[in-house]
Amino acid sequence: MTIEIRAGAFDPWRELADFQQQMTGKCGKYGATTVFVGTMRDFNEGDEVRGMFLEHYPQMTEKYLEKITLEAAQRWELLDMLIIHRVGEILPDDPIVLVAAWTVHRAAAFEAARYLIEELKSRSPFWKKEWLPERERWVIKNTPAG
């Protein structure tokens, strides 16, 4: 189980390939992997967005993400989990977040990945400030599960 806060750009598919290569003891054990990748768009609420700054609360963020992975591990039979979350300056089309869950059965993989991203979005201390053409604005709130 790995949680990473990254200040630089990352390639989610590359990260998944690397991570899975290190899961050597689990080869042949998992039948299902569900991955969610959240990407920066170039529009939001009808406005063009040119980039953004993602602020976080160092240490508390990591602590909170650990908490939700432990909760997920109690609810589902998980062989492994990976969470990577970007902070700092982010440009459109950049991946912001990656969550992945490896399980024996597919229902658990879907449910755990969904749980992780919903808990992450609703409670983990990150804040987005978008750069519009003429001004900046803080994103006020994440809509639930939209």
Partner: protein, 81 residues
């Protein structure tokens, strides 16, 4: 009683500082810490707060050496809302 107070995101900008170390002689709860640092501004209803990096409530008790943080609703995750 020494308390470290931190502000994040729009609140950090509004307070014009990332945080402050206070001697909270009379503050026993988070709400009272807020009163001491916010210059009389009432605690905003949607503000979130943490003590030592765990979510807490306005009436949570603070102790010497605690780190208290105030921040607006969180907006992490993808840009997929």
């Amino acid at each position: 009683m020494a308390i470290t107070v931190k502000f994040f995101a729009s609140l950090r900008e509004r307070m014009e500082c990332e945080g402050v170390a206070i001697d909270a002689q009379y503050a026993r709860t988070i709400a009272e810490v807020w009163q001491q640092v916010a210059g009389g501004e009432p605690l905003p209803a949607d503000l979130l707060m943490a003590v030592n990096m765990e979510y807490a409530e306005p009436d949570s008790v603070v102790q010497d050496g605690d780190e208290v943080a105030f921040f607006p609703p969180v907006t992490g995750g993808g840009h997929d809302h």
